[in-house]
């Protein structure tokens, strides 16, 4: 079903929303030679163009997820670069940033090149590698950040773990400035969260599960905002889950600190009550928190404090989640539910307009990680997501293209679904009837 990218593609009559240009209305989009050729009406169409009628659907710059775990190398039973990139297409994402906490970790230029090459070979969504901050993710010495950036790493992060040492984090922020890439941080103080499996609160007390307090995230957010201010480096705070975290980021932005931040669909949808009955699908790090934290994440996504919606797609094989709660790994899959969850929780509830949603899921991620895309401006890459904001569907994990099924959204009825995902001017995924 994939069209030939060399043939021009005309998307006719869709509701084109491109926050980067302010476009928001019915228009045609012409993609030629892997680039956006024209957006509007009345322009000439090449004779050999393939014409697709997308009336009634939203046409947006391709969605970008800056936070996914593709598990290759080392965890291919959970996901591979190819299966993850295919799941991304099915979720409406034209590009994803692969986290480097694989086994072995992506901590040198060759490993970065491997991820990039496998992503290209797969030919699904674009796969942008990231590299680790520290060698072996040991938190001791910086990696070859410059060479990794040259090999294609779009950010550095020890995600899965925090950079615990403040001095090393300072160096990373300073050093990465040279290469114009952000340092993405998983904010967690292990001395405060040690051994915890869910949010610390009345639910963890009742279940008898060791808890992770908000403070374990907040102290690192506070520290890193100060370090970003000190160094002028680009800080990207991943998966913010706490009320205080959102407030501190808001204040830092007002002071002019160079910081971007993520809100995830699970943190703006669920609370720690999802862990009741010891449901391991809801075990995620940072943990699902209290209703007031969830409200703060929604507010943060709403006012742009959390610029980016990212999934933290973390696939695990079913038997790894089929354990007692404290023994199961952290993480949930998010690529194929993100758009529906976001439309349902944010657009339907009037937290965001559709244009603002596209800003959070496409334009802002592209800016935060300096990626091509996130726009339909003439001459930009021809990555486009076509989705139906009104389509109602029920999450059925047996239909996921991801290798893993660990979702807490199973059975949830959502509104909003991708219809067509176009990368480099060719339709790489399309909904079956």
């Amino acid at each position: 079903m994939a069209t030939n990218g060399t043939r021009p593609l005309l998307l006719r009559g869709g509701h084109v929303i491109d926050p980067s240009t302010g476009q928001d209305g019915t228009a045609d989009v012409l993609l030629v030679g892997g680039q956006v050729e024209a957006v509007g009406t009345g322009f000439g169409t090449p004779d050999d163009a393939e014409v697709l009628d997308v009336s009634g659907l939203v046409v947006a710059p391709g969605l970008i997820d800056v936070h996914v775990h593709l598990r290759e190398p080392g965890g291919e039973h959970k996901e591979t670069i190819a299966t993850g990139a295919r799941a991304a297409l099915a979720g409406g994402f034209t590009a994803v940033c692969a986290m480097p906490n694989t086994d072995p970790p992506i901590d040198d230029p060759a490993a970065v090149g491997f991820v990039r090459a496998e992503g290209r070979r797969a030919g699904f969504a674009r796969v942008y590698p990231t590299g680790t901050v520290s060698l072996g993710m040991k938190g001791e010495r910086l990696t070859l950040i410059g060479e990794m950036a040259e090999a294609g790493a779009v950010a550095i992060t020890d995600d899965g773990r925090p950079v615990a040492d403040a001095g090393l984090m300072r160096l990373a922020l300073e050093y990465a400035r040279t290469f114009g890439i952000p340092v993405a941080q998983h904010c967690e103080d292990h001395s405060l969260s040690a051994g915890g499996s869910m949010n610390e609160g009345i639910v963890s007390t009742r279940l008898g599960i060791r808890g992770i307090p908000n403070a374990s995230e907040d102290v690192v957010i506070a520290r890193d905002l100060l370090l970003a201010e000190l160094t002028g480096g680009r800080l990207h705070i991943q998966h913010v889950s706490t009320r205080a975290g959102v407030a501190m980021i808001r204040d830092a932005k007002a002071r002019g600190v160079s910081v971007t931040a993520e809100g995830t669909p699970h943190h703006f949808t669920l609370t720690d009550e999802a862990c009741e009955q010891y449901r391991t699908e809801a075990k995620v790090n940072p943990p699902l928190r209290r209703p007031e934290d969830r409200a703060a994440v929604i507010e943060g996504v709403g006012d742009g404090t959390l610029d980016v919606i990212a999934t933290d797609h973390a696939p695990h094989h079913y038997d790894e989640k089929e354990q007692a709660f404290e023994d199961a790994p952290f993480g949930l899959v998010g690529l194929e539910t993100a758009l529906g969850v976001a439309v349902t929780q944010l657009v339907e509830k009037k937290v965001l307009t559709l244009a603002q949603l596209i800003e959070r899921m496409s334009c802002a991620p592209a800016r935060a990680f300096s990626l091509p895309g996130g726009t339909l401006r003439r001459g930009s890459i021809a990555d486009v997501t076509v989705f139906d904001p009104a389509r109602e569907w029920t999450v059925d994990r047996t239909r996921f293209l991801s290798k893993s099924r660990n979702t807490p959204f199973e059975g949830m009825t959502l509104r909003g679904a991708p219809e067509m995902t176009i990368v480099d001017g060719s339709v790489r995924w399309r909904r079956n009837a």
């Binding site: 609160g201 963890s204 007390t205 279940l207 008898g208 599960i209 009955q277 007692a324 709660f325 404290e326």
Partner: protein, 321 residues
């Protein structure tokens, strides 16, 4: 028989999900069962033909033996599996263990596990009745039931009693089960411990918190003194055992200042001279050994009820066969 149709449902996971009526039903059933242990031939055929597996992933001598006595006195066939030397040590997952047991056509599983939720995990995956003999920091329902039976024996009631749980509430499954059970039966419950050993939001479980043991003693009708696991000191939750004894220890001097007779319970094993002094543990107010005796009766009651028995038929069941 439909297992869910028993007075307790299919499983006994914890007291949080039982009603006051169900809890009273267990205690009322345990009462007549106490007498079986006083007989010359301590055996009735209530569970004859039933196969029970005691699955202990964590070392626990007294709980395991108490269950085993209960099972044998009810004439069940029992098998003990400990994690040491079993397939569990070879990396077999809990779900695989469960499936293998099920394939051997057993009727009940008594499980002790270091992870909270392990008993429920098992109960959701096998049709056998599952009894939680302690899961992580979550619940230890039969211990709380035997505590309540002992309180009722000695004080004649649960309702209106003031019971203070003293010690490491944070890591204690016994504390959680006691809090659920006692509050459901109308007792007032308090906890007393250094704040490092109290879980966040414990007040929201309907208990009051005492920072000083003297205040707890002043308030309470009974103290349930928890074992202080010595590794908590190494983990930094308390600075030293000596300091713990000086600040929170249940000592004779403190007990003597109580305004009323105080019942002293302890789930054992005790650290004498740490959380409790010997002359309190062995003193006239201590009912620690009565707890052990009642433990067997309570476990017999639970097994009998899960097998489809009813509290009002317990007396008759003893005479059958």
């Amino acid at each position: 028989m439909n297992p869910a149709a028993t007075p307790l449902g299919k499983d006994l996971i914890g007291l949080e999900r039982l009603t006051a009526e169900q809890i009273r039903g267990i205690l009322d059933t345990a009462d007549p069962f106490k007498e079986i242990s006083e007989r010359a031939i301590k055996k009735v055929p209530v569970l004859r033909g039933k196969t029970i597996v005691n699955l202990f992933f964590e070392a626990s001598t007294r709980t395991r033996i108490s269950f085993e006595f209960a099972e044998k006195r009810l004439s069940a066939d029992t098998v003990n599996i400990a994690s040491t030397g079993s397939s569990v040590q070879k990396g077999e997952t809990l779900v695989d263990t469960a499936r293998n047991l099920e394939a051997m056509r057993i009727d009940m599983v008594v499980i002790r596990h270091g992870s909270s939720g392990a008993a429920q995990f098992l109960a959701e995956r096998i049709p056998s009745n599952v009894v939680n003999a302690g899961d992580g920091r979550h619940e230890h329902p039969t211990q709380a039931l035997l505590d309540m039976l002992t309180l009722r024996d000695h004080l004649g009631r649960i309702e209106g009693l003031r019971v203070c749980i003293v010690g490491d509430v944070l890591h204690s499954r016994v504390a959680r089960s006691n809090i659920w059970g006692l509050t459901k039966l109308g007792a007032e419950v308090a906890v007393c411990a250094p704040r490092t050993l109290l879980p966040i939001g414990v007040e929201e479980l309907g208990v009051q918190v005492f920072d000083r043991i003297e205040e707890a003693i002043e308030w309470a009708d009974a103290l349930n003194v928890l074992r202080l696991q010595l590794e908590r000191m190494q983990a930094g939750f308390i600075p030293s055992l000596r300091e713990y004894n000086r600040v929170f220890g249940v000592t004779r001097e403190r007990i003597e200042r109580a305004p009323r007779d105080l019942l002293i319970l302890h789930p054992g094993p005790m650290n004498r001279g740490v959380e409790i002094d010997s002359d309190v543990a062995d003193g006239p107010q201590s009912v620690i050994l009565n707890q052990v005796t009642n433990g067997v009766a309570v476990r017999m009651a639970v097994l009998y009820l899960l097998a489809g028995g009813a509290p009002d038929r317990a007396e008759a069941a003893k005479a059958e066969g």
